[in-house]
């Protein structure tokens, strides 16, 4: 039953870890900008407050879709840790992202709609990578589940350095960090206002935050796949990478969607594609 335990653990702990990370992100960002910033637990206060507020329902489909977004995102992580075939989880992951797109796109607001379309482009930009990454991990380890990868004697990062590099790039896109924050913005003074979430309020917005925490935790789990010989090392690499993300987030301005799409595909094709090709040619 270790699979079930892992799944439950993810569902319970992932939002805590994800929320803390976002809190730390806000503190560090504030310091970088010469501000004191909010307390570490601010994201939890925010979500608590949002859950209490009355939600303005713009249409009847947004709430079920956002609940679907949250549920499928939590489910993806639960399935990964629960020992379900890794390649299968990537489709649930995509479904989760699609729910958010549909929730935002169902609103007649041009800002929401633009955010939805751009999130769809983010999905288009990142999905090939995730499929390829999980296929490559399964290929080099000969395993098909999370536990199987951890038990494998093969050090994944040594076999797939190109895929790992590409992951760091694609994760920036997936986390909607600048310069790739094309679909939504934390700073609602730009052309997008806040994009995807423009018309979400109250508990609807809380679902989006919670799902984002799950997503962040899930990306950490993916990094652990690369450092399967040592889980702490994997988590440490993830935290280091996240710190770099914050720096990049604060020092770049938003790119156009064309650049996001082109660069993600180019990185996926060159780094992971090249790496995967090498793995297949070397007959592993």
């Amino acid at each position: 039953m270790s699979g079930l335990a892992g799944a439950v653990l993810f569902v319970v702990l992932a939002p805590v870890a994800g929320g803390l990370l976002v809190g730390a992100d806000r503190v560090v960002t504030a310091r970088m900008q010469g501000r004191v910033g909010p307390p570490l637990l601010q994201p939890f206060y925010d979500v608590g407050k949002l859950l209490e507020k009355e939600a303005r329902q713009v249409n009847p489909v947004a709430e079920p879709l956002l609940l679907g977004h949250l549920a499928f995102m939590a489910l993806t992580g639960a399935l990964v840790l629960g020992g379900v075939d890794l390649l299968f989880t990537v489709f649930v992951f995509a479904l989760a992202a699609l729910c958010l797109v549909l929730a935002a796109g169902s609103v007649a607001s041009p800002f929401s709609h633009a955010g939805a379309e751009r999130e769809l482009i983010v999905l288009l930009a990142t999905e090939p990578f995730f499929i390829l990454m999980l296929a490559a991990v399964c290929k080099v380890t000969g395993a098909s589940t999370f536990a199987g990868v951890l038990a494998s004697p093969v050090a994944v990062a040594e076999e797939l350095p190109g895929v790992l590099l590409a992951f760091l790039f694609v994760a920036t896109v997936k986390l909607r960090k600048s310069p790739f924050d094309i679909a939504a913005s934390h700073h609602p003074h730009q052309e997008l206002v806040s994009g995807l979430t423009s018309d979400m309020s109250g508990r609807l917005l809380a679902y989006v935050h919670l799902a984002h925490w799950y997503e962040t935790a899930l990306l950490a789990v993916f990094v652990v796949l690369f450092f399967n010989r040592s889980v702490p090392l994997g988590l440490a690499v993830f935290l280091l990478a996240y710190a770099v993300e914050i720096l990049v987030d604060n020092s770049t301005s938003r790119a156009k969607w064309e650049l996001v799409l082109r660069s993600s595909w180019a990185v996926t094709l060159l780094f992971s594609g090249g790496n995967v090709l090498a793995v297949f040619l070397l007959g592993r």
Partner: protein
Amino acid sequence: MAAATAGPGSLLPALTVFLVAFPLLAGVVLLFTTAPSVRNVIVVGASTVVALASVAAAVAFGNGADVFYGLPGDASPQTAIFIAEVAIALFVIGIGLHYRRFLAPALALAQLAIAIWLQVGGHEPAPDPSRLFWFDRLAMVLVLIVGIIGPLICIHALGYMRDYQRSYPLIRGRRTAFFFLLFLFLSSMFGLVLSNDLPLMLVFWEITTLCSFLLIGYTRTPETIGYAFRALNMNLLGGLGFSIAIVLLSGRPGGLDLARLTAQPAGAVLLPAIALLALAGLTKSAQMPFSSWLIGAMYAPTPTSALLHSSTMVKAGVFLLLRLAPAMAGTEVGTLVAFVGLLTFLFVSLVAVTEQNTKKVLAYSTIANLGLIAGCAGIATPQTVWVGVMIVVFHAVAKSLLFLVVGTLENRLYTKDMEHFDGLLSRMRRVSILALTGIAGMFVAPFGIVIAKWSAIRAFIEVPGWEGAACLLIMAFGSALTIFYWGKMLLKVLSTRAVDPGERALEERVSGFEWFSETAHAAGVVGVAALVGVISERVVGPYALGAFHAAPRTFLDVSPAMLVVLLASVLFLPALGFWAWRRRDYDQADFYASGRQAGADRVVGAALGGTREITLRNYYLEGVVDGGLVFRVGTAVCALVLAAMVVVPAVVRA
């Protein structure tokens, strides 16, 4: 191959004759039926009989060992085949000369010359009268698809054509021909999937080509005539390849027996013929470089697109490829077929994201799925063949439903442009729920096609060398593109807006025939999803293992956790539609419009006074992806691969 000859009491020979003869007879009666009320009765009655007969054939077969049989009384069809070949060729030559198009007559003439040389010259061995037909699990799957989805589409056409003729009043009289062609097509399709004798199969093959040609050119405008001839030319080219393959195989004892031909990997001697048969399969399935005919075919009335150009006729191509898979296993031909299919999947998916015409998006998606099946057939392992057949089943039901829904929308909204479908859930609720079911069946529902894609990726991991890496890359990018264009379509269906009662009343004018057919299809999408385990382990799995003489194994390795997820997500979108329907008086707050007043009617105050209406459009990746360019590049690349496929085995043999 576990071969068993049908016992004397078997019903299969009689049922086969019935499945071919009865729709033909019904079609001829319909050709002379002008009264709509009489036509309705005949079409519904004949459709019911065809569906029952196809189920009866599946029951008589009993899902067991392969059955080979001939005509009742062991009659020889050789003369009839020859007469049919001559008639088809003369028809093509006649109609080609009439419209001053000369390529099709030339191709038909070449085929006619081959037929005369084979028959009159006595070069073709007489077929074994006890092995004319081959009923196995794959044939059963196809018989059920043709026999259940086909009649449902015919019933739908009763409603669709009534409205269609209102838009094209000048061609009202041709409706008799339309229904004749639909039933003629069903007849030939049954013959095609059951034939074991290659010359017999070729006759049915060419009749489906002619049906497609005549239905595309139904309105007889210069535009549709052009597209009809394009389809005819490409399919006749494939047919010519088929004929030459028959010539190459005629010299060999049992060479024209499909089951014997494909029982094991083809040696160097047989490979050129296998390559030519594969060429025929690729043209019929509209794989690049032949994809343009299927896009042109979208100008045919929509039931045609549902029946011929998504659920059945184009499946005949991949059906042949799947049949050939054991012969292609491990050969250059197999690898090259796989890459034609997979590259087509990638290229047309990329084109689909730039397309705004809903029917064309569905057409590209059809070509993409057929490409995936062709890829699986070419890689030719039990696992990939399993994937291929599973996609055949799930795609047939879901895509047919989507085409029919688009047909209904087209007659109500007078457009096929995706951009005009926004707020569909607010405007046409029942149609929207049907559309959501179809889209879920295509790509959200992890039962079905997503399961198949997942299994395909699993299978490709095992493919050694650069080919494996290439397959994975193609799958990764192709799948992402698929999500993008279906996502855009979902955005349009799910977006909400204020509608007036007039718009809501649009739905009331949809005919009962269309409702019945589309609801039955939607039930089918859910049904095949619910029965995925049975379909996989009792039918498709045993077929794939039997074709390769492989050791028993399970294919659908689904854990209980996965099953729960699958059930949740297959029902998610349709349930969402119902939810929104029930909540019709949901409190709709104003949306955000930079602080200006904006309501559900999408009108905002403009900056300098007055009002502006907000219009929302999807992204079509302008500036990043040039659909036309991608299509041309794909066509060129696949043409090269295809040329290699035909030439390499011939050179190796020489």
